[in-house]
């Protein structure tokens, strides 16, 4: 049971949420990109969160011995959204097909905004948790001050 485990757990969540915001920014920046890898429009990306909890045997063991070795959260992978691209009628565009339609990325600005607020709130919650842990540690140091 390490002294700074609590802070490390919250820090792992800060990293994860920050990466999520990075990916959201990337999606928003590329909302009109028609030329990405393979000459296709940009595809929206998403992060996948996964609980970090040591090897499976030790997590089974801890259930029966009441020990706790949770390590927070991590991003297990960054996946592409497979929903179809949006079509927009714009015959003058250089990337338009023979019918005059342009394929635009499957990024929805409103969804990205909502996800960003969610990530920001989660980030703030973890900052509060770190501050709480910090105040507890400082309080524990007061025992030896007398």
């Amino acid at each position: 049971m390490g002294m700074f485990d609590s802070i490390n757990i919250s820090a792992s969540a800060l990293t994860a949420q920050k990466t999520r915001i990075d990916i959201i920014s990337k999606n928003m920046a590329n909302v009109n990109t028609t030329r990405s890898t393979g000459g296709m429009p940009y595809r929206r990306q998403m992060v996948v969160f996964e609980e970090q909890r040591g090897p499976s045997f030790s997590s089974y063991l801890e259930k029966h011995t009441n020990r706790f070795n949770g390590k927070g959260v991590e991003i297990s992978e960054i996946v592409e959204d497979t929903t179809p691209f949006k079509l927009k009628y714009e015959p003058g565009h250089p990337d338009a097909n023979e019918d005059g339609y342009v394929m635009l990325p499957n990024v929805d600005m409103v969804t990205e905004m909502v996800n960003m607020i969610d990530a920001q709130r989660a980030y703030e919650a973890n900052i509060t948790a770190i501050n709480g842990t910090k105040s507890m540690l400082m309080k524990a140091l007061e025992i030896s001050r007398r």
């Binding site: 757990i9 969160f49 009441n66 949770g70 959260v73 969610d118 919650a125 509060t128 709480g132 025992i143």
Partner: protein
Amino acid sequence: MYANFKNNIDLFNKVLDGIWLRNKVINHNIANADTPKYKKLTVSFEDKLREALSKSDSKLVKTHEKHLPFPVNTKDIQPRIEENDKFSYRFDGNNVNIDTEMADLAKNTIMYNAVIDQLISEFDKIKNVIHEGGK
């Protein structure tokens, strides 16, 4: 007399260990507030501790060798971690409620500070006896 102080300090020690573990578990819950299929964890030790304290005077007698040991000694009490997988109200299977977690975190921090204060006052008593006894 000194044994009395020591008992109190041991008890506070136990409580602080439990509260610290709970802080860690709440942090873990908050960190995983967006993890699909994650179920919230809870720590409980107060009820067991209270039971042990109230029954420490009445010694239970074992009349059979297969009777389970009853933890009247506060030293034997370990905090329990439970996974709350009874319900989920979100589509991703996660059941962390960030509001209750933040409230629990605040309660837990205040409780920790209060117990530390009591522990310090316990040490102050011993110190007082040492200082004033020599006069």
